[in-house]
């Protein structure tokens, strides 16, 4: 067992523990900002470590954790998300002076949980990863002590999260019962014998549990309320990190454990995808709060990403990874602007964004670009991501063509509420003409994220080349 394959997790774990202890030891009066800087450096180190071992393949802990293109790429996404959350939260945490240290190490533990979930190829480790991630997210969501919305969001997220995990566990138990093992590859072998209704029910329960994490429609009810209630950096982290982790493990599960049942679950996922896209887009049409709007847009994007799983081929899997990579930049950029606007004016209503173009042209330009990338307008990343997903789906062919058309029409409908925000910023006159300042750190994050959104023309080929260079995961058939 070569330990350096595990280096990213080790770095993050030690970082979290050090911060925990420091937070505990340092007296309340000491300013915790430096802890943030320290954490950032640690994360950069973790990122470098992951890039260093990129491309290598291997098993850790005797098959519990798999190291392959899929897990490493998702780790990069999680670390990038964590870095951005740290940058966004830096000024935001003025609102909650006492808990800055907690925020930092909870984010790191959540990051650790995501990395484990993405890498694990065995049911119990998946459970551990998900629980570690969720348990760190619950306090993060509720960390604004005095704020009623934050606590309500935490409550809803906690109850429904546990409920979903319970359902998920029940499914895992059933599958364990039928196949006698919890390792995904062995499950695939064990399932061959008799495909009885109990097994399909077990699969569905797993799907329900992951559906909750990914925000698929019948299980999405928590998403709008939690996204609106939680502090915005945490919402950003949820929208990008937790969703990506959900997709990572769901991808691995479906591709390695259940290729035999593909014919049945493909149809379920098709229905779920259409439902998710359409519900997310149509519900977002009339939103007045920018965070709720981005919540429903996140749901809609979960619907689009599901197409990659349905297409069930190498292109589909690579497409999901690229799509979430592009989605990371667009979403974090959008949330950065929301934070900057909230920090300056304290409001999250879209109507208040009127005339932002005059008050702060840079913010308006960045938000416009991020929203357009989410809408899938060329030449931004969203467009390439969607196109790559559709390519994967059409490689499978058959009724997926109608799914692609529905998705394309959905992105046309989504254009309405994205452009509506742009309309408010660019077309309507500003309500009060005060200059709107945003902190240099936020501007830096914006530059990074918008660069990620704009430069798709150039990094699309190298990235997908790397993704499709060697096989994404150990799934036997996926050559």
């Amino acid at each position: 067992m070569d330990w350096w394959l595990l280096s990213p997790e080790i770095i993050v774990a030690t970082l979290a523990l050090v911060l925990l202890i420091l937070d505990f030891l340092l007296p309340a009066g000491v300013d915790r900002k430096k802890m943030g800087v320290f954490a950032l450096i640690g994360l950069l180190a973790a990122l470098l470590a992951t890039l260093d071992i990129a491309g290598s393949k291997g098993q850790l802990f005797g098959g519990l954790l798999a190291v392959d293109n899929l897990s490493l790429f998702f780790k990069i996404i999680f670390i990038l998300a964590a870095i951005c959350v740290f940058l966004l939260a830096h000024d935001y945490l003025e609102k909650v002076p006492g808990h800055r240290g907690e925020f930092y190490w909870l984010t790191l533990t959540a990051l650790l949980g995501m990395m484990i979930t993405a890498a694990s190829s065995e049911l119990i480790t998946i459970y551990i990863g998900i629980e570690l991630m969720s348990l760190s997210f619950y306090p993060l969501v509720g960390c604004l002590k005095k704020n009623k919305a934050s606590t309500e969001a935490a409550l809803k997220y906690f109850i429904l999260g546990s409920f979903a995990i319970a359902v998920w566990l029940y499914g895992a138990a059933i599958l364990y019962g039928l196949t006698g093992t919890t390792d995904l590859a062995k499950i695939a072998a064990g399932l061959g014998k008799e495909a009885g209704p109990l097994m399909y029910f077990g699969l569905f329960l797993l799907l329900a549990g992951f559906g909750f994490k990914m925000g698929l429609v019948p299980f999405h009810m928590w998403v709008p309320d939690t996204y609106e209630g939680a502090p915005t950096p945490v919402t950003a982290y949820l929208a990008v990190g937790s969703k990506a982790a959900g997709f990572a493990v769901f991808l691995r599960l479906m591709f390695t454990a259940f290729p035999a049942l593909y014919a049945r679950w493909m149809v379920w996922l098709g229905i779920l995808a259409v439902l998710t896209m359409t519900w997310g887009n149509i519900a977002a049409l009339r939103q007045s709060n920018i965070k709720r709007l981005l919540a429903y847009s996140a749901i809609a994007h979960a619907g689009y990403t599901l197409i990659g799983v349905i297409s069930f081929n190498a292109t589909g899997a690579a497409a999901i990874m690229f799509y979430l990579f592009g989605y990371l930049f667009a979403n974090l950029g959008a949330f950065a602007v929301v934070i900057a606007f909230a920090n300056a004016t304290g409001s999250e209503h879209i109507a208040d964004y009127a005339g932002l173009r005059w008050r702060n042209p840079f913010l308006a330009f960045c938000l416009a670009l991020c929203l357009l990338s989410l809408a899938g307008i060329p030449p931004l990343t969203g467009f390439f991501g969607k196109l790559y997903l559709f390519l994967g789906a059409l490689e499978r062919g058959g009724w997926l063509l109608t799914l692609v058309i529905i998705a394309a029409i959905n992105s046309a409908i989504s254009l309405f509420y994205y452009v509506n925000v742009i309309r408010t910023m660019y077309l309507l006159p500003p309500k009060d003409t005060g200059e709107l300042k945003s902190s240099p750190l936020l501007n830096f994050t914006l530059v990074v994220t918008v660069a990620g959104v704009l430069l798709a023309l150039f990094y699309f080929q190298p990235l997908i080349g790397a993704l499709q260079a060697n096989d994404l995961m150990s799934a036997a058939w996926l050559k």
Binding site: L155, K156, I159, L160, F163, A164, V167, G196, P197, L198, Y200, F201, F204, L205, A208, F212, P218, F219, M221, W222, P224, D225, R264, V267, W268, I271, W279, I282, A283, A284, L285, R286, Q287, I413
Partner: protein, 630 residues
């Protein structure tokens, strides 16, 4: 001179460009430029005529574009028919332009008028010289444009019966309806044989390569173009309205040249009509009926300019009848030539009356003979020619037509011709006597009328001379005109008894018409039409122009065009747009209901979650066995 034939067409266009570009500010200069260019083209056309008489014909052609092996060309076809038309068109244009100097004197748009006249001359000459269907159709529409521009020339005046631009618009659209038929005819021919060149198509038609039904339909369709342009029934309504334009325009365009284009077209494509014989029947009967219709309306018109307009329609009907009946071009073309001169004369004469008396209504005119010697004399010559009194030109050409009708066995048309001849002589002499004889109306006594200036009277005299001389070219004894036009066939060698008898009969009929007109209008001035008292019903029917115009402008335009258009516009806004906004509204509504679905109750969310799981459990356990799919 034949190889320079294209100069005839080019000169007026050069004049048009010079006037627009250079001399737009100086009116007189523009007039001179226009006249010199027309004079040059007259000279060249005369020399071409001489050359063609000498037996020389030519077809100059320029490849305009070649598109996937389909050649489009522009060319000049010089043969007897076009040579005659060159001379006719350029002479009359020259005379009208000279006349216009006086008539349009002091008008702000003087040079604009001359530029349009030159543009018209260019289009007409281009039409006459065309050697393929595309070119004839192009100049066909350009001629329509010039008539639209010239009718609506005084665009800011209220006009006599309706505003000039409205009259121009009517003219353009009604002729366009005809043009559509013509276009479809061309397309039909082009689909049968992949060329538009006249000679190639006519050769194929004569050689019988194209089936006759196709040719007949194509011929009739081409004839619809002629119906539109030469104001035959049912598209004749625009010509009387075209009288809103200045009188020189009426003289040039709506008497001599443009309206004759339809006759020229039928004559030029006679090979197709001949190949599909029943199309000639259509031409003959429409021509005949139009002649009768227009003549009957002409009897009662109080606006004398419109009387002459209806007379033009009637005479054009005659020409069409001639073409349709004889299947040969000579009779029609000969009447066209003579008619061009005496009808232009009549229009210019009534123009000079209007110029002097500032009105064209019967109740204001009367007893002008004494003060306007030349105009009344020339008008008399024109009327005699129109009525068909020997030795005037109208007699020879009209007699030939009636003779051809009887000779071809269509006796009904022949008698119709004679009746129309009687009505023609009656209504033209009604105008003559009512205008120049009798005494001045009561309310006009103080108003002193004087003769028009020489620039107007000189052309009148020239035309009067021509109106007499031109007829002698085609007398039955020595029909040089027919020999010139179609050298092949034999022409009226001896003069049988029947032709002499016919000549006598038609002269008597014409004289009877004149006497009747003199009896009624010669001595007394009438304010109200005598016919109105005797038979009000007939008078009402005729003065309402057989209710055709009421039907067109009262029913078809408001309901057929504008009404349906408003309906379509409403349909477009309400239904299609409504549908689109409806869908958007529905989607928005679903959005709102989905928002309300998000109640905020924790347990409601858990309920949905659990309900989905339970439904899946029930479904999977019970139905998996049954349905293979979900």
């Amino acid at each position: 001179m034949v190889p320079y034939a294209w100069l005839i067409t080019a000169m007026p266009f050069i004049a048009f460009l010079i006037i627009i570009g250079v001399t737009y500010r100086r009116p007189l200069a523009s007039a001179l430029v226009a006249i010199t260019c027309t004079a040059v083209s007259l000279m060249v056309s005369l020399s071409v005529l001489v050359a063609v008489i000498g037996g020389q014909t030519a077809e100059l052609s320029l490849k305009w574009a070649e598109i996937s092996s389909f050649k489009l060309e522009l060319g000049v076809l010089v043969d007897p028919m076009s040579a005659v038309m060159f001379v006719v068109v350029s002479t009359i244009t020259l005379l009208v332009q000279i006349y216009s100097i006086g008539y349009m004197h002091g008008d702000p748009g003087f040079s604009r008028f001359f530029s349009f006249l030159s543009l018209f001359a260019f289009s007409m000459l281009g039409l006459v010289s065309a050697n393929n269907f595309l070119q004839i159709f192009m100049f066909w529409e350009l001629v329509g444009l010039c008539s639209y521009l010239l009718i609506g020339f005084w665009y800011d005046q209220p006009g006599v019966a309706l505003p000039p631009p409205a009259a121009g618009m009517r003219a353009f659209i009604v002729t366009r309806i005809g043009d559509v038929g013509f276009l479809i005819g061309i397309l039909l021919l082009a689909s049968a044989i992949p060329t538009l060149n006249f000679n190639e198509i006519f050769a194929a038609a004569e050689a019988g390569k194209l089936n006759t039904t196709l040719l007949t339909i194509a011929a009739v369709l081409i004839f619809t173009g002629a119906v539109g342009k030469s104001a035959q029934f049912p598209l004749h309504v625009w010509l009387p309205d075209a009288m809103e334009g200045p009188t020189p325009v009426s003289a040039l365009i709506h008497a001599a040249t443009m309206v004759a284009a339809g006759v020229y077209l039928v004559a030029r494509t006679m090979a197709i009509f001949a190949a599909g014989p029943d199309s000639l029947l259509v031409v003959a009967y429409i021509g005949g009926f139009t002649a009768f219709l227009a003549a009957s309306i002409g009897l009662v018109m109080t606006d004398f300019k419109r009387v002459i307009a209806y007379s033009t329609i009637s005479q054009l009907g005659y020409m069409m009848m001639a073409l349709g009946v004889s299947g040969a071009v000579t009779a029609g073309m000969f009447h066209l030539t003579t008619h061009a001169f005496f009808k232009a004369l009549l229009f210019l004469a009534i123009g000079s009356v209007i110029h002097a008396a500032h009105s064209q209504e019967m109740r204001d005119l009367g007893g002008l003979g004494k003060d306007m010697k030349i105009t009344s004399l020339t008008f008399l010559v024109g009327s005699l020619a129109l009525a068909g009194i020997p030795p005037f030109s109208g007699f020879w050409s009209k007699d030939e037509i009636v003779h051809a009708a009887f000779a071809s066995g269509k006796v009904g048309l022949g008698f119709l011709g004679l009746i129309v001849a009687f009505m023609t002589s009656f209504y033209i002499f009604r105008v003559y006597f009512a205008t120049f004889w009798g005494e001045r109306p009561a309310h006009q006594h103080g108003h002193h009328v004087h003769e028009s200036p020489p620039t107007m009277t000189v052309p009148l005299i020239i035309l009067a001379v021509l109106a007499v001389v031109v007829g002698w070219v085609g007398t039955p004894w020595a029909n040089y005109f027919a020999a010139f036009l179609s050298p092949g066939e034999h022409h009226g060698g001896g003069v049988e008894g029947f032709t002499v008898m016919l000549m006598l009969v038609s002269t008597l009929i014409a004289l009877a018409g004149i006497l009747l007109a003199w009896a009624i209008y010669g001595r007394r001035h009438y304010d109200i039409e005598p016919l109105a008292e005797k038979s009000p019903g007939l008078y009402a029917f005729l003065s309402k122009k057989w209710f055709i115009e009421n039907f067109y402008y009262g029913v078809i335009v408001p309901y057929g065009a504008v009404g349906l258009a408003r309906l379509c516009a409403w349909f477009d806004r309400a239904i299609i747009d409504g549908l689109v906004n409806g869908i958007a509204g529905v989607v928005g509504g679903i959005g709102v209901s989905l928002r309300r679905f998000q109640t905020g109750y924790l347990q409601f969310y858990a309920l949905i979650f659990f309900a989905v799981v339970v439904i899946a459990a029930v479904y999977l356990t019970l139905f998996t066995g049954l349905s293979a799919g979900i």
